[in-house]
Symmetry: C2
Subunit: 333 residues, 2 copies
DNA sequence: AACCGGGGTGTTATCGTCAACACACCGAGT
DNA sequence: ACTCGGTGTGTTGACGATAACACCCCGGTT
């Protein structure tokens, strides 16, 4: 049995296809009786709107592209899930495209352009967004965790403040100063976390030791342990690197938290079961995703043109310190 | 500037739109000179095919739906990434829909049906697939990690064999028997892993202690530690639960691996940095995803009708034991 | 000379939906 | 009686791509 079209429904209800369209789109210009008859016909025939045809006619697909560098980080995959949920609630679908470092974002946007998505959300690692200014054409865009800039709508966690809180917490615990295991140099989130760490140290008048740099992965955290062997407190830029650090310190015989305190960032679900359970900074990925989707849909549907409200518009969501055993005060109270 | 259509390209190249279509679709019935002229016009104008129009005319969207219960498990998010990569290589796009336990799969498939996807891949937790036999209509379907059944194409890791290898490894290490921290009762993968564990015990004539059941999350693993306090070897159904178990054992003062050996499943990237580094069973998610996508595209494009080769067709990929410190032999060699 | 076959190309109609316009009807105001 | 505004509905014509068919031009048969 072939697809049921508006014409079929129209015939069954004894009206024109246009009236069916009006019912589907909730136009007020339909007699309640007629509307009821059409709706009855729709359920009777099992009518489903043909999105491709709708897209062809209206130019809008009710589809959002999600550009993601990798899903290997817990943060990204949680964002993806949250974005899906938020989009589904608005009757939008998500198509995922990957943009790796070597492929660049151009092919990703090319695919999205083909698919005529109504807009795109870019996750993370967006420092190199500058490259693509021209490429995206006029596609509405919301970037997560990127440098706020003119003509760019961004949504981000307050990485700097979270990092500041983590560092202050470690200082309050009695550490002379706090070492930092930073993320990749080209990551905005990593830069922000580093900035917050520096600010907290400056605020307390503590010495700044140049950070060790990792790649977000736990292996790089383990590798950093020797370089950080004389630290009494370390703020790691994410939980995975913190985990590696815990491992590295264990191998070196450095006891956590008795000899060295460790704090991470993200609050991955497993952090509570690390050994010892990890103090970390929790991001509200659900809220972040909901805001990103809401902003994008506003842009895509909005009559408020992009010249107006969208200029360099940045939204920042708070992060929350979660204290666990890995940062029990170094010198007992 | 509005969208560039085939007609525009055709005008620019001095041919008809149909000829442009033939060039785009690689028809052999085009003079090489004409083809060159058309291709030149396409790049000159920046032509991009309009998928919605193509979909309307051809009835196919070059889009694959991915139905996923959650992305909280590492396995699922790695599968998602791998599926995206495999699909992109074939010029297909992925749209992700979630089907939670309460929402059921019906709305998910409804969304996919609207979107006119060419087929769908269902990830995991598919025991309740039976519910949807009628719902999917004739949409081509590949299910990952589900009970093979007639009229169902499945792709799966050899969970049972991986579990068997893990259990045999623990027995070889000197354990009297091996306890099992199982996954949720409604999960196919969990059932298979349990089956492999039982088989290995039976094979060795070891006693079977009824498994403790978790929910894949690390917290459930930690909670299971007390119930498993007298074990000398535990096979956990995934790495996250194994991590929780390591935490729980540490709290109980049970030393791993000296007093109790632990093995997980999945080989998440962090497993190597758990304390102690976790022995586990590695799944090849990339291969799994590539096979799933390949099978689905065959189904969707295949002239080989579904009555033929697709009947109860199951593909099984090997898993590999990765030995680390958490299972160092209980009784020294 | 008439015919054939096939490569290369154009024409036409169509997929399902919706914007724009047309129209028919009705009660209210002049 | 006659316009008027509003309401409910139908008609027409795109949107962009392509399947099906029609056509022309050629060299090679009969």
């Amino acid at each position: 049995m072939p697809r049921v079209s508006m014409a079929d429904v129209a015939a069954h209800a004894g009206v024109s296809a246009q009236t069916v369209s009006r019912v589907v789109n909730g136009s007020p210009r339909v007699d309640p009786q007629t509307r009821a008859r059409v709706e009855e016909a729709m359920t009777a025939l099992g009518y489903r709107i043909h999105r491709a045809a709708q897209a062809l006619r209206t130019g809008r697909t009710r589809t959002i592209g999600l550009v993601v560098s990798t899903l290997a980080t817990v943060g990204n995959s949680r964002m993806l899930q949250a974005v899906c949920a938020a989009a589904e609630a608005r009757d939008y679908a998500i198509v995922v495209v990957t943009a790796t470092a070597d492929s660049g974002i151009r092919p990703a946007f090319s695919r999205l352009h083909d698919r005529a998505v109504d807009g795109a959300i870019v996750l993370n690692e967006a420092t190199r967004l500058v490259q693509m200014a021209g490429t995206t054409g006029d596609m509405p865009l919301v970037v997560v965790d990127a440098e706020p800039a003119a003509h760019l709508v961004t949504v981000q966690t307050d990485h700097a403040d979270g990092a500041r809180a983590a560092t202050a917490h470690l200082l309050a615990g009695g550490a002379e100063t706090v070492h930092h295991l930073a993320g990749p140099a080209d990551s905005f989130a990593a830069a922000e976390r580093e900035r917050g760490w520096r600010a907290a140290l400056a605020n307390a008048g503590a010495a700044v030791i140049e950070p060790v740099r990792g790649d977000w992965g736990s292996r790089s955290g383990a590798a950093a342990a020797t370089a950080l062997a004389d630290a009494t407190a370390v703020f790691a830029a994410n939980d995975q690197m913190a985990l590696g650090l815990l491992h590295g310190f264990a191998d070196l015989g450095r006891r956590v938290p008795d000899e060295v305190a460790v704090v991470g960032f993200d609050d991955v679900p497993e952090a509570v079961d690390y050994l010892p359970p990890l103090t970390t900074v929790r991001q509200d990925f659900d809220a972040l995703a909901a805001r990103a989707v809401a902003r994008l849909i506003d842009l895509a549907e909005g009559t408020a043109a992009r010249a107006g409200a969208s200029d360099g518009d940045a939204e920042v969501l708070a992060a929350e310190l979660v204290v666990r055993e890995s940062s029990r005060p170094v010198r007992a109270v």
